[in-house]
């Protein structure tokens, strides 16, 4: 079992995609995260679902639970609005150390270790030229793991 056997086509975004579009894509297609690619189609960032959410949550609420609590319900419901038109580029957090990106030959154990290490429910798989060919999701990997 190699990455090529677990591969699924996966929608991508770019750094110019807006936060609103990214949120709609994630929600509409029930995705575990999003893959950001450059102009050549090479994966540059993999965002987990919670990282996509993080793009839309005001910084002061991420750091301090008490501050989120004082926002009234009407404003709390609409927290995405002020950020929806910002490009992902602007909202992106500092880059993590290791990206969950691998090649077509990665084994089940390599994929699992990469997901565990990067805490990403999604691994981008690139060909020899570095261009994205698809993704392996945590769900696909777990299905295979418990079946074997």
């Amino acid at each position: 079992m190699r990455a090529r056997d677990l591969l699924t086509p996966f929608p991508t975004v770019t750094l110019d995609t807006t936060v609103g579009e990214a949120a709609r894509l994630l929600a509409g297609q029930d995705l575990p995260g999003l893959i950001v690619v450059d102009a050549e189609g090479k994966p540059t960032t993999v965002l987990s679902g919670t990282a996509v959410l993080q793009l839309a949550v005001p910084f002061y609420c991420q750091d301090d639970p008490a501050l989120a609590r004082v926002v009234d319900e009407a404003h709390a419901d609409a927290f995405l609005e002020p950020h929806a038109d910002r490009p992902v580029r602007v909202a992106l957090p500092r880059q993590p150390r290791e990206l969950p990106v691998t090649d077509l030959d990665a084994t089940l154990l390599e994929l699992a270790a990469l997901m565990a290490r990067t805490k990403s429910p999604l691994v981008a798989v690139a060909g020899e030229d570095g261009v994205l060919v698809g993704a392996v999701t945590l769900q696909a990997l777990m299905d295979r793991l418990v079946a074997s």
Copy 2:
């Protein structure tokens, strides 16, 4: 919009559940994670999907990508086996600082900030007695967020 409006019943495990059972539950029901409860039904830990996977990945592979690569394909396919009968209690990593657990009155913004801060696609919701009443998933929250 409050946690009570986004609540979904959620299966739970205990510290005595085996790693194999936890993996099968996650895979079989397509869950974003698992909630660990104590004998009184109070949530003590929330494990994201990648944290459940982490229970089964050998420590040496989590730290060093090169070590996962040298394991041959047959052994890599079956990496869960040696760990499947261990209880979750034994495999559990050091406890995180903040648990993604909240109450029924948490707003959409509080839920989102909590998910972003704890990087958990799943928030456990407890009643006033601390007993779990259900969960809010990232997917349910994103659906509501982009609809509003």
